[in-house]
Amino acid sequence: MRDLQPSLNQTQRVRLQSALRQLHSLPSSSSSSPLSSVAVADPIQVNHDDNILKGHGTLDCDGEVVATLCGVVERVNKLVYVRALRARYKPEVGDIIVGRVIEIAPKRWRLEINFSQVAVLMLSSMNLPDGIQRRRTAVDELNMRSIFEENDVICAEVRGFQHDGSLHLQARSQKYGKLERGQLLTVPAYLVKRRKQHFHHLEQYGVDLIIGCNGFIWVGEHVEAGENVGMLVEDQKKTSTAEEESWSFTPLETRKHICRIANAVRLLSALGFTLTVEAIVDTAEASLASNIEINDMLGAEFFVQTAEREVQRRASMVRKKG
């Protein structure tokens, strides 16, 4: 996501600063572990008797472990490392990701998923459109473009790393596959936490929201799983004139909801808040409740209001706990 920087006036700036200060003073929701965010050259507290292993982003300096990256200190048994924020996405097995096809190679598609290398989706690790389980033949291989083309946005699951270090994906279910009729947003990957559910059908809006673990977020018109394979492309080939194309456009009402949700995602990522479906829907609801035009959601006033609402939410959570 390219940075959104609304031009605030004097009072809005003061309000935003006070809201951000309060957010700093409030403990965040996952504050069970001691505060462990470090900047470059910050010392990391370790118990030297434990024989720790220094991992990525750490350095031994005069008997003290210091950080060489800005990020969060992670501890796995003896290993201590720093997970950098604002870095590329680091896949874990089972993550649901959204990616864009950049190349079709023999028996595989290569996908851009904001990882340090391209991900590979093998023809054999995805369901065929007819749904029959069988060996993939040379004919299937020749027809790969009828499944996914270059630049298509698709949704898949991380299957694992191969021996040579390349990342493999799989799409063995009806819910994975090509995404159409909507827009793709990119946010920093650290704003998305892995949860049980990444596919959301927001029924009140008729919108599908897929929050990919790699920070690619899809907001689009709702489609029933498995019904849309290649439908749109065939439609378009038939309808050549602009007159006929206009019938297949997303209905205006749904489009309004898509844009509102998308702007909620843009706003939350600009503020640096974790993107959960609850936060996104809350923000969209709040904008509806205070009668804010879709475009003005990216303006200064709603930007500040969203920050203040987050302060209230976290403060009430602390009160409940206390």
Partner: protein, 284 residues
Amino acid sequence: MVGLSEGEKHFIRGGIAQDLRSDGRKRLQFRSISVETGVIPQANGSARVRLGATDVIASIKAELGKPSILRPDKGKVSIFVDCSPTAAPMFEGRGGEELSNDLSVALQRCLLGGTSGAGAGIDLSSLIIVDGKVCWDLYIDGLVISSDGNLLDALAAAIKVALSNTGIPKVSVLGASSDEQPDVDVSDEEFLQFDTSGVPVIVTLTKVGRHYIVDATSEEESQMSSAISVSVNRRGQICGLTKRGGAGLDPSVVLDMISVANSVSQQLITVLDSEIAAAEASEE
């Protein structure tokens, strides 16, 4: 450039047809503009303009020079644009050259008037010091830092803001002999402000399908059939016109687009004026 799938392209086209674009804007709505002045201390005037994710810097450098023989009573202005590789990987090396040239030529056409210098948005005769001997050469440099469509409008706005931020040193002529180069004294303290009321803004109308939009993002620009850039000054006069894109346009459509651009430009000028005032207030 931007890779978009068929589904996304279809979604963008549908949004433009239904007057609700991907970020919730209407067809004739600009993204939010933010303006910063005095960003380059060495220059006589500079400005940074952000239009959504498009980010450009313009700087004005004034140097003493000799007017051309053909036009002894006018100063000289040249415009150069550079696309930084930070904006997009394809601008690396010589990759951005073609786009840079296109942008410079379009800006020259829209801001500097005809080859005789008549009709220029910048008053060239105010740059003269001694007729036929000494004049100011203005070098206007634009730098594209981040590119998300509508570069021409952003650059024109940045140049307009930078010119209003420009101070030209006051010059007093010492020896006024008739045949040789006169001696001049450039003051370090006194600066003259430019009259920027005549400097036009550029509004680009991008035609997608049967409709046209202002301030297209790079995704929307990838769907355009043609685009017309109209430069309009404060009084609503058309100062220049350039067209991009392969598809032809019907003359009646062109006239319609010009009148739309004209009305949109007046809103843009008002917004820019208030932003300039705010930027100058925050600088002091």
